[in-house]
């Protein structure tokens, strides 16, 4: 809802016979000492009646209608939404109709916490996932990184156990359109975790291959590097020599090296230092070389790369100490 929009169709509540029994609660001077609401009469009128019926906890059809007006005036008022949910339940309204109502409001206000929470609650009450996947897909058509939308889709899939290949395919479709869509990568990871496939060799092979195809061409795409490293969290990067080999080859063949690629190789060296592979020292030297290169190609993170350099030495010393104590 854009700022200052007023409801034209309904007359002021103060002039309506069916509301004559209610004394509106208007703002007091104390309530307007600062941050005074910059609103027209219709806004003040509707909300002063809302406040009055809220105070007496009235449950009625007219109150439900009043929340319609108040939501049109400000869809971010969580008190109105909470009251509306209380009314919906008490009055036994059709929840499917309410779902259509909230769908329209979300399309107008896709970045509002209250409207998405309202939708989640309704779907939970209805007890089936209905068209929720299509609904979020429509939201992503406009804004493929809408945080609330992804959060909602995750909840639907988890709550109704909808995890499966269809969801993976959906992210593949989005990533082919825009492989820089980090929300889609995150969702893919979420699905694999929920599906309990993230540690399966077969899944890892498919996913790593998918990453290689994208990262091999788009080395400056952070999302794919993060996803690839994320796949190997439990085993470590060094658990996959094939990935190391691929990354090394990419490094030696690429001229305009993305810092994500060099940083990926640095992380591999860091793991080797921690594990004390080859005595460690050779990997400290290589890590330091990568840090120097990163300072050159990615100067905005110079301080971070210098810290990494110190960390490489630190890890090496710790590893030696550890090896001495545990021969």
């Amino acid at each position: 809802m854009s700022e200052g929009t007023e409801v034209k169709s309904s007359p002021f509540y103060r002039d309506r016979d069916d509301w004559a029994d209610i004394t509106p609660i208007l703002p007091t001077p104390e309530e307007n000492t600062i941050v005074r609401i910059d609103a027209g009469e219709a806004f003040v009128d509707a909300f002063s009646y809302l406040r009055a019926v809220l105070q007496k906890k009235e449950i009625s059809e007219r109150c439900f209608q009043l929340t319609n007006d108040c939501i049109q005036l400000n869809a971010a008022n969580y008190t109105v939404w909470q009251y509306r949910r209380d009314l919906l339940k008490a009055l036994g309204h059709d929840l499917k109709a309410e779902l259509r109502f909230i769908g329209d409001i979300i399309m107008e206000n896709p970045k509002n916490y209250q409207v998405w929470h309202h939708r989640r609650t309704l779907v939970e009450w209805i007890g089936n996932p209905g068209d929720e996947l299509d609904f979020t897909a429509a939201v992503f058509d406009d804004e493929p990184k809408n945080y609330h939308g992804w959060q909602h889709r995750q909840w639907v899939v988890r709550h109704f156990h909808l995890v499966g290949q269809r969801e993976i395919d959906y992210t593949t479709k989005l990533l082919l359109e825009d492989s820089y869509n980090n929300s889609a990568w995150n969702y893919r990871y979420f699905i694999l975790q929920l599906w309990e496939k993230i540690d399966h060799k077969e899944t890892l092979d498919i996913e790593i291959n998918f990453c290689k195809q994208i990262a091999g061409k788009l080395t400056h795409n952070e999302s794919v590097w993060n996803y690839l490293a994320g796949l190997l969290i439990s085993g470590g990067l060094i658990s996959r020599p094939d990935v190391i080999e691929w990354a090394e080859k990419l490094y030696s063949e690429t001229e305009n090296r993305a810092h994500y690629l060099v940083s990926f190789l640095l992380d591999i060296e860091m793991e080797k230092i921690e594990e004390g592979l080859d005595g460690g020292l050779i990997h400290v030297t290589r890590a330091k070389q990568f840090c120097k290169e990163l300072e050159e190609i990615d100067p905005v993170r110079t301080n971070f790369w210098r810290y990494q350099q110190a960390l490489a030495e630190n890890k090496h010393e710790k590893q030696i100490l550890h090896a001495q104590q545990h021969p």
């Binding site: 309530e31 609401i37 945080y147 909840w155 979420f190 994320g230």
Partner: protein, 396 residues
Amino acid sequence: MNANVLFRSFQEKFQLCIEERTTPTLASQIRVEDMCQDEAQKLGPKEDEKEWKMPFFDRDHHLAYTFADLSKCPTYLDASRPWLCYWSVHSLNLLNHTFSHDMKSKIVTFLKTCESPEGGYGGGPGQIPHLAPTYAAVLALATLRCEEALASINRETLANFLRSVHQTDGSYIMHTGGEVDMRGVYCALAVAKLTKILDQSMIENTPEWIISCQTYEGGFGGEPGTEAHGGYTFCAMGALTILGKAKLAEKDSLLKWLSNRQMRFEGGFCGRSNKLVDACYSFWQGAVFRLIDMELEKEEQPTLGLAFDTRALEEYLLICCQDPRGGFRDKPDRPRDLYHTCYGLSGLAVAQSYDESKQLILGGEAACLPPIDPVLNITAESETFASSYFERLLSR
């Protein structure tokens, strides 16, 4: 564009690299880089001049804008009025404004009308209590550095409200019947810590819940499984710091993700991987470096020291985010507002905090802001005043 020797940001060689075809993400990134470059170009020498102009911190206009916007509230923020108070008074405090007695009293009077009989604060009078405006109200009151303001907080009912929204899994719902996310945990713990009402019943399972939101990228999402995001990462690390449990976070991946949020061309921070720069993340991301350092110090590990490119961030804020009429904006094509003014200034304070001598601050002495507490985001002076007030209250 000429070789731009003056600035660390806006270097042509660090513009976006398109390796294949363009995509919606790349197209919007190019657009933003172009508009930032245009802003930098405005400081370039005109016909007869040789020198580049240094960016100027427009303190007077920022003060005037913040003051003007404290008087009125647009309808879409009708359920966030304590936020407007906090964004304004914290901005004014950072700008070294001295609040008159009359102003303090108006703020205290108004916020008291938002306090719920059940405890905590609503987004406005007559609204049910909600953790976000509760946080904003308590921080606005603490910012004022006056006993009357702190005494106006009903700590007993506040504690009841916090317990009522704490969930058995450790998370917090924002209000009765409301949504769960990381903001809730942070807002609850921040006010409980400051007013010294934090107890075990408020933090049962909370550290575990927070950690369950750290993602494979290293940052934190709003709920378990959701995408790593700057705002939620600050909330998570702020909450863990309050609990003395920051060591539970996986630091290496967090630091890497965090460092990668600084944009190599624009100099400012973005909120998530492959998203656009936005002034507000100057604080949300910038402050987390400070929180990590606090933890490293506690663990007697080598600290990060200067952890990100503070000069590049100062350049983004001063060159691209100041509205010529005062106030800060997300990026050059967005309108100014109090939210971005508050977090732009707060981010600038974080960047400046690394320069203890204050000799190298962009914009010179006129741009110099006071130190802030990176956990709460109020000035260190306000934090000390409030903490010692509540300390005395406890010892009575």
